[in-house]
Amino acid sequence: MNFTQQQYLVIRALAEGIFPQLPDSPGASELPVAEMFITIAQAWEPQVFQATANALDIINDISLSFFGLPIAQLDAYSLAVITDVVANNPDLKPFWAPFRMLIALNYYALPPAYEAVGLPGPSIDNGGFTPDGYPA
C-alpha cells in the first residue's frame, strides 16, 4: 500500500498546518514528519489505510474549493484556514484525531522540534540530571 504523490503532499501540508514554522522552531514540513507518518500507516489494515487516503483526497478537494489551489500550494494564512476547517469538521474526526496524534508524536520525537521547546534529549551517557533539572 502506498499513498499517491498528491496524498503525500497533503500529509506534508497538514503537518505544517499543525506545526507551522516559527522563527525559533522548525515547521513540520522541514522535518521528515510526513515520511514517519507514512511508514506507520503502511502497517495498517488495508481498509484503515484506504479510509485515510480517501480523507486526504477530500481535504485536497476542500482546499481547491476554498482557494482554487491544492493544499500543498497554499500560503501560510490559507493553510491555517484549511487546517481549522479540517480540525473542526465532525465528518473528518475519525481521520483527524489519529492523524494529529501521530503527527504530534513524530514531530516531537525529532531533535530540532524537541530542542526548540527546551527538552534536552538523551542524557544517560552524560550522567543524567539532578532532581532540579541540571546536568548531574
Binding site: 507551522p20 516559527l22 502497517a43 521547546v117 527538552l119 540530571f129 532532581p131 532540579d132
Partner: protein, 530 residues
C-alpha cells in the same frame, strides 16, 4: 512437527506476570518453559533509545483487532517482549485500597455495570504486596492512605521535582492531602541496579535499569538457575486438554521465523499474555469437550472488560519548572479523591498523579488536542513552565464489554482474530467530568495561567478473566485457575473483578506471587506422592 517437550510448568508470555511465575518456579526447582512472542533485549544500555517514540517499539500492536464501541483506542499499555509492560511502564507501584476489594458491598452495583467483590481481601494480599515491593525495589514512604499494618517500601522516596513542588502548592491550597509517590524506580542503588538518573525517558525502556524491568530483575536470575527454557519470537496457537476436558495437557507454539510448530506438555500451564490474548487463546482452543472454548461453559471468558478511564491535564505557568526532568509518573500523588467524598453522582473515584519527563509529543497529542498551528506552538513553548497532572478513573466492568473472536477471520496461524467491544459506562463519564474539574482546580490553585485537559482515553485494560467463587459469574477461581480445569491458570489484570483507581501492576505482581506459591505447593505435593 518435532518431538513433544515436557516440563513441570509452561508459562505463556514472558512479560510482567510470566516473569514472576518463571522466577518463582525455577527458584523452587521446577523445570519451566516460557514462550514469548517478542524479543529479549539483553543489553538495555545499548538496545534502548532515549526517545519518546521508542515506547511504541516496546508495546503491543492491536492493528489486527476488530474494535467496536466508543471507548477503546488501543493505547500503549501492554508489553510485547520479554519483560512485557515493565519495559514501557512508568513504574508507578501503588497498593489498592482495602475497599477496592469489595466495591459491590460498599457501593452497590451501578445500573448496567457488572461489579463484584473480589474473592480475596487486601489482608490476604498484604504479604505478597510486601514481597512485590522488595522484588521491584519500590521507592516511597508510608503515607496518609496506608493501612496501619503496611510495611514501608524498601527505598526512600524520590525527591520532588520542581513541577511536583508547584503542584503540591495547589493540593495544599485546596485542602487535598498529597505525598511522595510510590514508584518501582530506585531512589538509590538497589540490588546492584543504578539509582534513577532523572532522564525523563522511563517509557522508552530504562537504559540503566533504575526502573524495575522484569526481564532484568526476574528473567535473568531464572535463566541463571538452568531450569528455565526461554523461547522467543514464538506464538502459542492452541491449548489442548485431556479427553475429559479437565486437565490442560499441552500447548502448541509456532516459531515466527521458521514457521515450525512445536508441542510441549506441562504439569501446569499458566497463561500470562494479556487481557485480550488470553481469552483469544482460550476461545480459539475449541474441542469436543470445550465447544465454545476452554473454560467457557458459562460464557464468562472475555467478559467484563474495563479499564482506567484517563485524563491528562497541563497547566501553564510563568515559572521555570524544568518539566523535562524526572521519572515519568507519580513523583507526587494525591489519593484523597479515590473515594467519592463530595457526594457527586457516581460510585468509586480517581487518583491524581504528577507527570514529568520527556513527553513533549504526548502533551501536544493529549491535553492540547484541540489546538493546532500558532495556538499549539505558543502553548508548547511553555513546555518547561508546565505542571502535568493525570487522573486514573475507576472504570466499571460491563458484561457486554468483552473480548470475543471472529471465527470467520483468522491470522496466518489459523487463529481467529480478536474482537473488542468497549463502551464507556455512564459512571465512568461522570467520574471523568469530576476529574477534569479537579485537575483544573488544583492547577489553578498552583498558579497555572491556563489549563488544558485531554479527552477521555483508556489505560490499563482489565477484566476478561474475572476471579470469583461462582463459575456462572466468573472465569477463574481466586488463584486464577480456570474454572473446570485442574492445572490451567491465568494471570494479570484480566483477573481483577474491579480495578480501583490506582495503577494495577503492583497488585498484579502480588497476585502472581500468591498464585505461584499455591502452584509450587501443589507441585511439591504431587512430586512427593508420585
Amino acid at each position: 512437527m518435532s518431538a513433544i517437550e515436557r516440563y513441570d510448568a509452561i508459562v505463556v508470555g514472558a512479560g510482567a506476570m510470566g516473569a514472576v511465575f518463571a522466577h518463582e518456579f525455577t527458584q523452587a526447582g521446577m523445570d519451566v518453559l516460557c514462550i514469548e512472542k517478542g524479543q529479549f533485549f539483553q543489553n538495555h544500555r545499548e538496545e534502548f533509545v532515549e526517545n519518546e517514540l521508542e515506547t511504541f517499539r516496546l508495546v503491543w500492536d492491536y492493528s489486527s483487532y476488530e474494535i467496536t464501541g466508543n471507548a477503546f483506542d488501543g493505547g500503549p499499555n501492554l508489553g510485547a517482549h520479554v519483560g512485557g509492560g515493565t519495559l514501557a511502564w512508568t513504574a508507578t507501584a501503588l497498593r489498592m485500597f482495602d475497599h477496592d476489594f469489595r466495591f459491590r458491598s460498599r457501593w452497590g452495583c451501578p445500573s448496567g455495570a457488572n461489579v463484584a467483590d473480589w474473592p480475596i481481601s487486601k489482608r490476604m494480599l498484604q504479604p505478597y504486596y510486601d514481597l512485590a515491593e522488595q522484588q521491584m525495589g519500590v521507592s516511597g514512604e508510608r503515607n496518609w492512605w496506608d493501612e496501619h499494618n503496611t510495611a514501608s517500601p524498601p527505598n526512600p522516596p524520590m525527591p520532588l521535582y520542581p513541577s511536583s513542588r508547584a503542584l503540591q502548592g495547589g493540593f495544599d491550597a485546596l485542602g487535598l492531602r498529597s505525598s511522595f509517590g510510590r514508584v518501582a524506580t530506585n531512589s538509590r542503588t538497589y540490588q546492584g541496579r543504578s539509582a534513577c538518573l532523572n532522564c525523563g525517558y522511563c517509557r522508552s525502556g530504562c537504559r540503566v535499569d533504575a526502573k524495575y524491568q522484569a526481564d532484568e530483575v526476574l528473567i535473568k536470575p531464572a535463566l541463571a538457575t538452568g531450569r528455565l527454557t526461554l523461547v522467543t519470537n514464538s506464538v502459542v496457537t492452541r491449548v489442548e486438554t485431556d479427553p475429559l476436558g479437565i486437565v490442560a495437557k499441552e500447548v502448541r507454539y509456532v516459531d515466527l521465523n521458521s514457521g515450525a510448530e512445536t508441542r510441549a506438555k506441562g504439569k501446569f500451564i499458566i497463561l500470562c499474555n494479556n487481557p485480550f490474548e488470553i481469552p483469544r487463546l482460550l476461545l480459539s482452543s475449541t474441542s469436543r469437550r470445550h465447544r465454545q472454548g476452554i473454560g467457557n461453559h458459562f460464557d464468562q471468558i472475555g467478559r467484563n472488560f474495563y479499564s482506567h478511564a484517563t485524563c491528562i491535564g497541563m497547566g501553564l505557568t510563568d515559572q521555570d519548572l524544568r518539566t523535562f526532568v524526572g521519572h515519568s509518573m507519580c513523583n507526587l500523588m494525591s489519593l484523597d479523591t479515590c473515594v467519592n467524598r463530595e457526594h457527586r453522582d457516581y460510585k468509586g473515584g480517581f487518583s491524581l498523579l504528577s507527570l514529568n519527563g520527556a513527553g513533549a509529543g504526548s502533551l501536544a497529542a493529549f491535553p492540547l488536542h484541540k489546538l493546532h498551528g500558532m495556538n499549539l506552538k505558543q502553548r508548547m513553548a511553555y513546555y518547561n513552565n508546565s505542571m502535568v497532572l493525570l487522573a486514573f478513573i475507576e472504570g466499571m466492568p460491563v458484561a457486554d464489554n468483552r473480548v470475543t473472536v471472529n471465527r470467520n477471520k483468522t491470522d496466518i496461524f489459523d487463529m481467529p482474530l480478536p474482537q473488542v467491544h468497549y463502551q464507556w459506562h455512564e459512571n465512568d463519564l461522570k467520574i471523568f467530568d469530576h476529574a477534569v474539574e479537579k485537575i483544573n482546580d488544583v492547577m489553578t490553585a498552583a498558579g497555572a495561567n491556563e489549563v488544558f485537559t485531554s479527552e477521555i482515553f483508556e489505560s490499563h485494560p482489565m477484566g476478561t478473566m474475572r476471579m470469583g467463587h461462582n463459575p456462572m459469574t466468573s472465569a477463574t477461581d481466586r488463584y486464577g485457575r480456570v474454572h473446570g480445569l485442574s492445572n490451567l491458570y491465568v494471570a494479570g489484570g484480566c483477573l481483577f473483578p474491579t480495578g480501583g483507581s490506582v495503577n494495577p501492576t503492583l497488585t498484579m505482581h502480588a497476585l502472581a506471587l500468591r498464585s505461584s506459591r499455591k502452584i509450587i505447593n501443589t507441585w511439591k505435593l504431587i512430586k512427593r506422592i508420585f
